[in-house]
Symmetry: D2
Subunit: 336 residues, 4 copies
């Protein structure tokens, strides 16, 4: 971390500030210019808060040179992390597609969709049972009852299942769920993240609507600091001034994340756009940008979906898309 | 809700779509233009999801005319809601200031700050014990131990206390806390909101970094739908492209909220700006814009604060500001 | 356009408002609900300003159903527009790459880069001579002298050239420039747009940093309304809260624009990311998302570039990228 | 400027990079840490582009310590700049209100509004004659004919007038205009700014929709670098994800700008909110935040305004607001 002191401060002030930094176990390199002194802090600065340093009345500016994440940092773990769920794989050269309805609605629906997406080549079944909804008057998901339907579909098809957890105590009913999803609104629910750090299942961590990619990595760091290193990152669109689509897919976040971290990165083109006719283009762009997988909403009857029908593909549309995606994944040298 | 159908659809298609809407208990008014048919849906549309309607292949556009919130809506409750905590009041003509440190750090610190802010005219003591931090390696708050210090400061000064709850089971230790704060990152933690709807204490609900004011009202609606109508809304800055300050204080949200809802609206100039030298101007602007109160960070030693020192006022700075704020509140006809 | 009137207004008020709308040549369809009257305005509403209508004290909400653009609208011109510049083509199945330095710096530089990008398969040479710079103290481009160098490079290689115009009177020296670029900061310089509408050259119109895609189409409409229908749209990143890259590439804007307009759509991955190591992924994503072309910064010596070196590819890097892009364009069925 | 080099680079590489910096006339202070070398660049770095430095392959990060603006910088001109227009003043303790219609529409309209705003205490008359409109099919202003009407109203009332210039050659007809407004969309029309730097009239420079406050100061610097130091800055709302209002009024920009620059800062609550019922609260907040003035839209018949009626106050509403604003200005110790 580099700290530029204000101009015109006394030697005494500067000395005592430097001493206080050294007392935290840091080595301080001092560079005196004509008008300004600059300090280089060497040592483990990951627990130093740049804003706290910046609060000191002697400090003009602070620059963090090291990234604040360690376990998620590719610098310290150059090899790609690969997530394995039975025969399904994501990361390290494997491209995995998760598909299914926004919400589990009935036994017929979930089994039919599961069979369709498996036939098309999806490696995972997704389905929501607890649904975060903006309005308390909207459908909130089937709850625990939905779990059984999801598990039945898993048994019927052999596909591992992904579902969203909304609070810690729901872990009790997630025994048969293979990958636990943390939704965008919970990306900085730090208590939940800490708890998932003690769990032995892969976590699908969605980027918050207004979270930076660095904050996404810090959220992964919360989980990894607890001992669970199986984290899949998901870019799902951010909130901007533009409103033609539900969110703005931040496609460049994919190659940036792949440079910074060894964790697998997938894209959710359904939530990122919110419009089914834009999903195929967004999905193809994700593969081309270097993503390790996709999570796509597929519904057998989008117009009567209880949730997010506007952005769901039909099984036929999904199947067509998968044919194309395989060609793109091949160009990227990935196994799908 | 108004639904514009696509051009060139058949009479049969249109009839069956209208029938499906009527089957949900709605009355449908039909307006046929030369090229386009427009439907007006009459009845309780608050549980209708405009996006779900928009997913139908016959629909071109959807316009919600009624606001989606009911209990928070000033239309149905024209009189201002006033929150009472002993002798302290917020809303309905009363201007209340909450002040204190970001984090409770020691018995001496919290009691000293409590006395100082009381002397300056604050009506409530604020202090964090569970701290949401971006990095798992940063100070996370004192936890339960901090509660006792906060309660001791409350007894010493008589000030009611406000503190942030990060997850449901922490409610157990909040017995002596007078107002429960829901942080910006938890504004859409819907399970938490539902639980607080069953609680009998006032809730201070902070706006999410990327939440619209309508979403803030819908979050309040979650709490109110559970039976707890004592909700204080807090504008605390939103995330935009501009980065000179920590967030962008959305000052116009104050008069907009005051028009739309009967709930009290306060402003957090400390988090909204993140820079202590901007706090006084932001605080005065909030009073002038019609806010019912403020929540301000005050620390006896900002440079050594364990959290958010950069944005904290000193007790002296706070005391000076309060003298000015009283003049502004008087101009607005509010009791402070 | 659909206009929802406020509740509880008198018959007289409503009648006189309707009469005022009809006096503008519109047919008004009236739908009376129990609580609310909704008007459907039929006719040419493209000159109606929804905000002006919304200003009326009787009006609750306004919904535009028709798009406000006509000449750019695919509804009225279903066939793709193709831009031809000698043998180079963009749109209508042709994928065209424009490449070259941010700034023309010397005869050697521009000729060397021109030869390199031609050899790699670029169809157009780009080079800036007038540079919009945030600081008055930064290099502002070579100005008119640069034109001659650009034209010399065009003669040497046969590549048509693209360059940015910053104000109307510069048109005088643009005789030999084949495509005139309107920069992001000038997207709503309406006087400039009108003037370019009277010109017979293709216009490359870049999206403003904070412009919606609808505003981009309205800017194209300004040019087209003047008689010049050869407009190429360019997505080049928008400004959001996220700052890891220079801008946020709005990749979903590509398929959205392709649905709404017949004009060709290209992507600028260099300005969209601002980081050369992210350019290849962004460029591939653009092809996969359905773009008709790319504009890429290539510099023979990025580290000593007078402008934007951070985002420039070397000739070697560009050449490698083009090999890959051809495979992607082939998958999309485009000629490159 | 501080430059952190990458880890593990050779002595030779580092030496030659330092030599290249010194060849630009800078003194370079070198601080070697265990893992990293940090350079402090001393001298006039205002013409150094941090992005260009960052493009060098040896550079990890760049931190600008000095502000990039000089003439606008309060550090070098501690005293407030005051703009005088006859007896009307803005800045340096004087609070000035500019009021009038968005668009000049007729002799009766502009004279009537001018008289009304003067009676209420406005110091300047504003009125648009060239209007930047999103759609080419909307009313574009009266053009040169409008100038005469504006000048007639000036003669009738004695109020100095403010009007927006859209391109350089319009300067010819601005002889009698007292303050030239540069609109938000032209804030970075650098050729226009340079031309206005050679002009001897005060310039009202509006912040761009997506411009940072630093970019606003750099735009002022363009004008000042040409010799015209009479620049009034105007905060008029920025574009964010929030859409209840036309823009998001960035109220904290006011105290931030007042700290950084000696130039007067005013606020446009009409464009910032776009809703007349929010204008009074926004205007009061601006005074409380430390603004030196306001520019407010007033129209004698907002519902039939040709432009921006939704956000205009009536003369009566404006007059009431001015009574209140005087009390706020008095609290701030300003003469109005």
């Amino acid at each position: 971390m580099i700290v530029a002191l204000k101009q015109g401060i006394t030697q005494d002030d500067s000395d005592s500030f430097i001493a206080s930094l050294e007392s935290r176990g840091l080595t301080v390199h001092i560079s005196k210019g004509e008008n300004q002194t600059v300090l280089g802090l060497v040592g483990d600065t990951s627990s130093l808060d740049p804003e706290a340093i910046g609060a000191h009345h002697l400090v003009a500016k602070v620059l963090r040179v090291q990234e604040p994440y360690k376990r998620a940092n590719r610098l310290f773990h150059p090899t790609d992390t690969r997530i394995n769920c039975g025969s399904a794989k994501i990361g390290g050269g494997f491209f995995g597609v998760m598909a299914g309805p926004c919400s589990v609605e009935s036994p017929e629906q979930i089994v039919a969709v599961a069979k369709a997406v498996k036939a098309a080549g999806a490696a995972f079944l997704r389905g929501g049972i607890f649904k975060p909804r903006t309005s308390p008057y909207s459908f909130q998901g089937m709850g625990c009852e939905g779990i059984n339907l999801l598990v039945a579909a898993k048994k019927e098809t052999g596909l591992p299942v992904v579902s969203e957890l909304m609070e810690i105590h729901q872990l009790e009913v997630f025994d048969e769920i293979d990958i636990i999803q943390v939704g965008a609104r919970n990306m900085q629910n730090f208590n939940l993240l800490k708890e998932l750090g003690r769990c032995s299942k892969p976590i699908l961590l969605k980027r918050g609507l207004a979270s930076t990619v660095t904050e996404l990595l810090m959220a992964a760091e919360y989980i990894m600091a607890g001992g669970n290193e199986q984290v899949i990152l998901c870019e799902r669109g951010i909130r901007t001034f533009e409103s033609f689509a539900r969110n703005t897919l931040d496609i460049a976040a994919v190659p940036w994340l792949k440079q910074k971290t060894h964790l697998p990165v997938i894209v959710d083109p359904s939530h990122a756009t919110g419009i089914s006719s834009l999903v195929p283009a967004a999905a193809k762009a994700a593969v081309a940008a270097g993503a390790d997988g996709l999570i796509i909403e597929v519904h057998n009857d989008p117009e009567n979906a209880l949730c997010d029908g506007e952005q769901s593909l039909t099984p036929g549309g999904f199947s067509d898309l998968m044919v194309t995606l395989k060609k793109y994944a091949a160009l990227e040298g990935k196994t799908m």
